[in-house]
């Protein structure tokens, strides 16, 4: 009997066959079949075909491979990894539908490698496998970005890799220190504290924090996601940050620092979103803000908060992909998602507007949409802990989220109080209400249905969560307070709507502190350092020629007195070392 089939491996390896399929129809069918195959494996796993999944935090252990003196564990199946696994493959299916029109097969390959390696990371039972999968995950988006082909996208791709390699190095250093301390490579809950003993764990935490785009290390996300192609960016929204959240839950749940970082991040990102002119960058800031809820949930660390973080990660993947798809529709159809150039698209793209609005209501946490059933869990966990500041920050972030994704973005792209878009945009549209390609609408439709279905019937989500759920989302208190808050947030928006209009601007983020010194360093290497190098080259050669001329001089008095050979070797060694120091 088969021990288990790894869904990540099926999708990862299966992806490489896509370019070799000749018939276009077969290719597209195969492209859709890959996540379906992954989903089938997960359903079979849930049904207990490969063995019953024990209650959390116990796990089913599969696929052990000997490596050096250790044993790698490629399949550690627990309730949490199953939650993430399910949503990864369901999201991949919807994203593949959305990306069907993409002509470049290698973009599909990169996307499937990305999905496959993410699944590999969440089912990894040991730290080496986890690190290996995280490294593949840091390369796949590089290709998704670079396939867009623009200069800005290439720059963003390089910056993405640099950030994730830095986080990868931190994680690797943490892993090695952990192994040195304990001798075990098992991926378990890590101790945390300040001081030298915890250096490795702090490095690992830093790596996961960077990967999850937690403030102040969030800027790579808004910088890079908005530069990918419309379909490429959809994949990027889901996997890296959520895998990091999974890792944080597994390794660092209950770390109070994370609670504060998450709550501050949830609000901080919204301030930057107010100033944003690009629809996809605005959505990126909302990913950051929503991750704040998850990080705060991980930091709170109670069963309800962990359930909240896991369920919010799941819901977030669905509605955020939907939001990105909505903003991506404008980009795909009229070539821009900049607010200052759009407005009045409703008449020509009404279905994408309404589907987008489902995502907007979901992310805001409107009752009967899926954000409500997950976000409230984390907020209530903060209430139970009697943390009023955390509660106010998270509740304030809810208002801000509704302001941006529920009001600002749709207002600026589809409405802006006008019935017709600007003439240059109108020229790109057909006289039809169906300007958005059908595959995009189907992809969005599936996600929108999931948002509503889970929002109305939360039990299906709650049954999957690691801890038993006693939380009742639909109480009069909660439904009423959030609805009233949104109604009055709309009043605030309407009063100040001219201030959230788009202007052709760029908002500097925390990456300024890295990018500017980085640019100066590159310039320093390119000019002064190279000039210094050539100056040294020239002068060392001059000195060498002078020594040679002295030694070989035909006049005996002019010749240098012979020295012991060891001294000569020492001089050569010194010159060579200097050379190495300068150049290496």
């Amino acid at each position: 009997m088969i021990e288990w089939i790894h869904p990540g491996l099926v999708i990862f390896l299966g992806g490489f066959l896509i370019p070799f399929i000749r018939s276009r129809k077969v290719k597209l069918a195969y492209f859709l079949l890959l996540p379906i195959a992954g989903l089938t494996i997960l359903i079979l796993t849930s049904m207990g075909v490969f063995g019953p999944i024990p209650p959390w935090p116990e796990a089913l252990h599969k696929w052990h491979i000997p490596f050096l003196q250790y044993s790698l564990e490629l399949g550690r199946i627990n309730k949490l990894s199953m939650v993430f696994g399910y949503i990864y493959v369901i999201a991949a299916l919807c994203m593949n539908v959305y990306a069907l029109r993409v002509k470049n097969d290698w973009e599909h390959v990169a996307a499937m490698c990305y999905v496959g390696s993410s699944l590999g990371a969440i089912f990894a039972g040991d730290l080496f496998t986890l690190f290996f999968c995280l490294e593949i995950m840091s390369w796949a988006p590089f290709f998704l970005l670079s396939f867009r082909g623009t200069k800005k996208a290439m720059g963003a791709a390089v910056r993405y890799v640099l950030w994730h390699h830095f986080s990868g190095v931190c994680i690797l250093a943490g892993i090695l220190m952990h192994i040195h301390n304990t001798g075990s490579i098992e991926f378990v809950h890590m101790p945390w504290g300040w001081g030298r003993d915890y250096l490795g764990y702090n490095l690992m935490l830093l790596g996961f924090i960077i990967n999850s785009a937690t403030t102040p290390f969030h800027s790579w996300l808004s910088d890079t996601y908005s530069q990918a192609s419309p379909s490429g960016s959809i994949y990027m929204t889901a996997y890296t940050t959520k895998t990091a959240i999974y890792c944080l839950i597994m390794a660092f749940s209950g770390v109070e620092l994370l609670m504060w970082m998450g709550a501050i991040q949830a609000v901080f990102a919204l301030f930057l979103a107010v100033l944003e002119n690009d629809g996809r960058r605005l959505c990126s800031y909302h990913i950051i803000s929503q991750i704040g809820y998850m990080v705060a949930g991980v930091g709170i660390g109670t069963p309800m908060a962990i359930n909240g973080a896991a369920s919010h990660a799941l819901c977030h993947i669905i509605y955020n992909a939907l939001l990105y798809m909505g903003a991506g529709c404008a980009l795909a159809v009229v070539g821009t998602a900049k607010f200052n150039r759009l407005g009045g698209l409703y008449k020509y793209m009404p279905i994408s507007f309404w589907l987008y609005m489902v995502g907007g209501f979901s992310i805001s946490g409107f009752p009967l949409f899926n954000g409500f059933i997950s976000k409230c869990m984390t907020i209530e966990a903060a209430e139970f802990l009697q943390r009023p500041y955390i509660y106010l920050l998270l509740e304030g972030a809810t208002v801000g989220t509704f302001l941006h994704t529920g009001l600002k973005l749709p207002w600026n792209i589809w409405l802006q109080g006008r019935d017709e878009p600007p003439p240059d945009i109108r020229a790109k549209l057909k006289d039809s209400a169906l300007n958005t390609p059908m595959n995009m609408l189907i992809g969005m439709g599936i996600l929108a249905s999931l948002c509503v279905f889970m929002g109305i019937y939360p039990k299906i989500l709650y049954a999957m969560l690691p801890y038993p759920v006693e939380f009742v989302p639909f109480t009069i208190t909660r439904v009423f307070s959030i609805t009233q808050m949104f109604i009055f947030a709309f009043v605030g928006f309407w009063v100040l709507r001219k201030m959230v209009k788009g202007y052709p601007t760029y908002t500097l983020d925390t990456d300024w502190f890295v990018r500017m010194p980085g640019m100066r360093f590159v310039r320093f290497c390119n000019e002064p350092l190279i000039n210094f190098g050539s100056f040294l080259d020239k002068n060392i050669l001059k000195v060498t020629y002078f020594i040679i001329s002295c030694v070989r001089s035909p006049i005996p008095e002019m010749r240098m007195t012979p020295r012991p050979i060891g001294l000569g070797a020492l001089v050569v060694l010194a010159v060579f070392s200097l050379f190495l120091i300068i150049y290496v």
Binding site: A433, Q484, A489, R523
Partner: protein, 87 residues
Amino acid sequence: MNRLRIYPKKLFWRMFFVSLVVSLILDFLWLYSNVFHYHFSFQYILEFFALFGLFGCMALILIAKGMGIFIVTDEEYYERQSEKLKK
């Protein structure tokens, strides 16, 4: 399906005003008949969530605009900086 239509403005505004008034009245009635179960005392302030939504939203926009004075720049900022450094 394929016909061009503008968004339903009138319907939206009617629904909006009705829900706004109803929410204000319901908050008053339910608060004093102890329907709500909150965790913090400040949540029991009359129309707390209406005020929180309104002022929270406005404060967010105004503070962000204030921050914008320092951090908003033109779209080609980094390209410009890179060119400047090359010179």
